[in-house]
């Protein structure tokens, strides 16, 4: 057993007894899997990433990605639900159809998108609702992600409200459905369609065609993607094909059955007592993640070590990030980087000289402007879908 594996196992054993009192006998939350490394495979426009699947593509960024406040396009995670993704898009003919309960249904070309509307930019984090799912014990449904199914980019595009305004929404409109161009292998498999209530569509929701001053990478939704700042990525529909305005909620698998959590205050439940009522996951909770150093890194005794990472939430904003070097007994404030807006990563760094040889655990905890802070991994509520894990990150290094 590798040393780092020992620590992960020890941590699980350590929390099992605590978990038993809080969430029932068989729940024992742990730190997410942190032992995977990028494979030597290059997907289009991507550097080698942790490759969970090629069909549909599931690519995760390694820990080192998160020492940067803006996630480079070629390190940005990838998650598709359906296998048949177009491999050729004629950008002259490509258009988004806006239909449904509107006075003037129309097709919106890329040229019109870029010329006919006010162009806006927002820097925002997008994170899979199931990011860090491998922290959940017992195992829950879905891809067993480590913590790299997230990224932060500067998005450029137009306001969704402006696009809808041109169509002239009719009275009684309450919902908007979004469908991308990818398709399932079988006709009867539910299509990946997402629905937002008009009340959720503020000025920040946009249709983006650029990411970090480049065209959207193919695997991140070229040529257009819905940007819903503060929300988990299941709402950020890629390769947009259809926008449909409706009066009533449309029955949809990916809204009514998937991407849902317990509809109670903690959104927690236990395998033995599943919540009766559930609701879609929407706004992200507060989280931080250490990008440097890596788990298991060897660092020289008394050298200057700068811990770097990122912190974010669903739009409240990061007040501070605290670092502990003594397993949570004492916490010291990290320095925060430039504020790129309330939906962006806030970079943090913490400099110190390790003055004792041996293993050292570094913990990072973010606190928002309202005083809400991240829980320890063992205190994150379990839910059947393995969503919204935001436990305090721990990296154990060796001082030599």
């Amino acid at each position: 057993m590798k040393r780092r594996d020992f620590f992960k196992t020890a941590a699980v054993v350590g929390v099992a007894t605590v978990g038993s009192s809080a969430f029932g006998s068989n729940v024992a939350m742990r730190e997410p899997i942190d032992s995977r490394t990028p494979q030597k495979i290059n997907f289009p426009e991507k550097r080698p990433m942790i490759t969970h699947s090629n069909r549909p593509p599931l690519l995760e960024a390694p820990r080192s990605t998160f020492s940067q406040v803006i996630t480079p396009n070629d390190e940005f995670f990838v998650r598709w639900h359906l296998p048949d993704i177009p491999t050729f898009i004629d950008t002259d003919k490509y258009a988004i159809r806006i239909t449904g309960n509107v006075a003037k249904p129309y097709e919106l070309t890329l040229k019109e998108l870029k010329e006919d509307f006010e162009q806006i930019e927002v820097t925002a984090v997008v994170q899979c609702g199931g990011n860090s799912r491998s922290a959940f014990v017992p195992i829950t449904g879905g891809v067993q992600w480590g913590s790299g199914a997230m990224g932060c980019a500067k998005w450029k595009g137009v306001r969704l409200k402006d696009v809808l305004k041109r169509a002239g929404m009719k009275e009684g409109s309450h919902w908007v459905n979004f469908n991308g161009m990818e398709k399932p292998a079988y006709d009867k498999t539910p299509d990946f369609v997402r629905e937002l209530n008009l009340d959720e569509l503020n000025e920040d929701v946009m249709i983006a065609y650029q990411m970090n001053d480049e065209d959207l990478p193919y695997l991140n939704g070229f040529p257009t993607r819905l940007i819903v700042p503060g929300y988990y990525s299941d709402s950020w529909v890629k390769m947009i094909k259809d926008i449909v305005v409706t009066k009533d909620h449309t029955p949809l698998f990916f809204m009514d059955q998937a991407y849902r959590i317990a509809a109670n205050a903690t959104h927690g439940e236990t395998p033995d007592h599943l919540a009766k009522m559930t609701k879609p996951i929407t706004r992200m909770n507060i989280k931080s993640f250490i990008g440097f150093p890596d788990e298991g890194a060897e660092v020289e005794f008394q050298s200057q070590l700068v811990v770097r990472g990122v912190a974010f939430d669903g739009g409240i904003g990061i007040e501070k990030v605290l670092i502990s070097l003594d397993n949570g007994k004492t916490w010291k404030e990290a320095m925060l980087g430039i504020d790129y807006g309330r939906y962006a990563y806030r970079a943090f760094r913490y400099s110190f000289r390790p003055n004792e040889k041996g293993n050292l655990s570094i913990m990072a905890k973010a606190i928002d402007h309202l005083g809400q802070e991240q829980p320890l991994a063992k205190d994150v509520p379990w839910d059947r879908g393995g969503y919204m894990f935001n436990g305090i990150d721990i990296v154990t290094i060796k001082i030599v």
Partner: protein, 100 residues
């Protein structure tokens, strides 16, 4: 190579002239262990997803794999014949089981 072609074409025109060639994603082989029922898994599962989806789950219980196969049938409408279900679940819980 594809990446270079793709980006270059886009850079030439602000309106993104037609991408002249298809995007090609790499073939990745996720090899499953040999075992009774592997052929049934290959025939039934790989239409919709790579075997990476299976390996990603880690070693799990018989009940876990049984639930997964039924989720594929009930939620995702995979056309898996009823007689294939025990074969697939048997393979998964043997090759990727945790003894429970």
């Amino acid at each position: 190579m594809k990446k270079i072609i793709f980006s270059t074409v886009l850079a030439l025109s602000p309106l993104m002239a037609q991408v002249s060639q298809e995007i090609i994603s790499p073939d990745v082989t996720y090899t499953l262990k040999e075992g009774k029922g592997l052929d049934s898994v290959q025939a039934n599962c790989s239409m919709c997803h790579s075997f990476g989806y299976i390996l990603n789950q880690g070693k799990q219980s018989h009940m876990f794999w049984d639930e997964k196969v039924h989720k594929m049938i009930n939620a995702f409408k995979a056309p898996i014949a009823p007689e294939d279900i025990p074969t697939i679940v048997g393979y998964l819980s043997t090759a990727y089981g945790n003894g429970k």
